[in-house]
Symmetry: C2
Subunit: 310 residues, 2 copies
């Protein structure tokens, strides 16, 4: 579809890996995609960066309909004008993002949504960059954004949040809403909590890096790909469900929490982590590992179409 | 295969859900399975409990070859005699397990392995139940044991550990070795660490139960089904890998750890969890949720055959 057919116009600000993945995702799902980057060279590389995501999307979402259009924009106004969603992927730097927002805001339509992909920053830190903070949401994708469905959303204008969620859903994403601003949103808080214990087990000598990873991928990780953590304890409670679990095993769970580790990334621990992933990688470089990850993710996503998660 | 053909003889002690899943798994993979339970009624129900796991295994592992044999044993000696692996699934009670081990040990062959499925207890707590503790390993499966591949192993006799691992591998399991005894082994320590933050986000009002679960299943959970947590940070470090990640983002990760929550399972939090999973279940009872989980797990495992995890 092109804009004459009423295709959704979406601006992508910042043409790095995340920006290119968003651009591929939205173009694959029929949008009129405008990409802007202040660095001409980065902008020029956008189609090359989108090639692999586009090929992967053809496997994962073959029924998305005709591909949309891609326009590389040398100036911000051309990208933002007429866009209903402006997905910002600038470096994680508050003054830099504030300066960008000050340029974007006068160019936005009155109902448009400015969505920041920020991972490290919060809505409250970014909102002071706008005259009207209601225009801003945080919309954090999980890497790689064109494959992993999660988009974590926080904002203050329910109507804009709902419009943004509809756009993400139409692109096959799963928007999840925070009720309150939080550093790390939901997913990176979970990832950080899990990794703390994963690092502790290496530091404490309970298990090697590669054993921890193998346990996760073949155990709870596999289960969490089909069942949430809360729901897993609901099923762990037998016929009594979560209430039964809490009544019988709540106290032992609290004791277990108290016994979890609190590691520090000392030079020794860092060395153990670096050596451990090197053993686990077994000679595979980053690109090879990423390709294996993406291939497995694509197979898992295709499997989901037949048997959805709980 | 039957024992005349030299099929591996495996004793399953305790015919509850875990015992029945082990029995189905080993029978599906051609073993001569002997099941014992002190309660005649439980023993009699074993074939009925095995029916669904056996049907699921036919989907997940269709190439396992001819099914083995199943013998229900009214006395312990009949089950243990000649078994090279004795998988114990008694209640999580130290004196009870010690009493059982005292009965089992004189009946075991000299090279046989006594493997406890214990989730809550450790090898060090169980070993005093034997004259020769080298005969004991902990071999903790992850629920449901016939589908989720992980078996976490700790013991002191390398030869017995290696023999047990070979038996689990032949049954399509992924044994993972601990270097040191630890409560919760590896997987439940990871699950407990993650759930602590999941509960904290509900307690603190950051997100609802169902939002936390949706974020996990569509984000890190999906990724951890194909990629370990350590390896994920290796890929998050760009071309610098884990060393690059630690150099640039190690300090911010330590700050994030310090900011993670420390919830308590107060009556209010318990009520929020119970109400949240009820909304998420949306009227589905435990059996329906388990069936959906198993169907999705089976699809994920079949997808893995085509595209293995990293």
């Amino acid at each position: 579809m092109n804009e004459r057919d009423g295709a959704t116009r979406i601006a992508i600000l910042g043409a790095g890996l995340i920006g290119a993945a968003w651009a591929a995702l939205f173009q694959h799902h029929g949008a009129d995609v405008r990409v802007w980057d202040p660095v001409a060279e980065a902008l020029g590389e956008t189609p090359a960066r989108m090639a692999s995501p586009l090929a992967q999307l053809a496997e994962v979402a073959p029924d998305a309909g005709p591909r949309g259009t891609l326009t590389l924009c040398g100036n911000l106004s051309e990208a933002v004008s007429g866009a209903i969603l402006i997905q910002e992927n600038a470096p994680e730097n508050i003054p830099l993002k504030h300066a960008l927002f000050a340029q974007v805001e006068p160019l936005m339509g009155p109902d448009a949504v400015l969505a920041s992909s920020t991972s490290a920053l919060t809505w409250s830190e970014l909102a002071p960059g706008l005259q009207d903070p209601a225009r801003l949401i945080t919309a954090h994708p999980f890497n790689p954004p064109h494959l992993v469905p999660l988009v974590e959303i926080y904002g203050t204008d329910p109507a804009r949040i709902a419009r943004a969620e509809a756009i993400y859903r139409a692109a096959g994403r799963m928007p999840v809403r925070l009720k309150k601003d939080a550093t790390g949103h939901i997913a990176n808080r979970l990832a950080s909590a899990l990794w703390r214990e994963a690092v502790f087990m290496v530091q404490d000598g309970i298990a090697d890096v590669e054993a921890v990873d193998a346990a996760l991928v073949n155990g709870p990780g596999l289960r969490w790909s089909v069942l949430g953590a809360h729901m897993a304890y609901h099923l762990g409670g037998g016929t009594g469900g979560m209430a039964g679990y809490l009544a019988h095993l709540g106290p032992s769970q609290e004791r277990r929490w108290a016994a979890l580790g609190n590691p520090a990334l000392t030079p020794d621990v860092q060395a153990a982590l670096v050596e451990g992933v090197a053993r686990e990688a077994a000679g595979r470089d980053i690109a090879t590992l990423e390709a294996a990850r993406d291939k497995a993710l694509i197979a898992a996503l295709i499997a989901r179409r037949k048997a959805p998660h709980v």
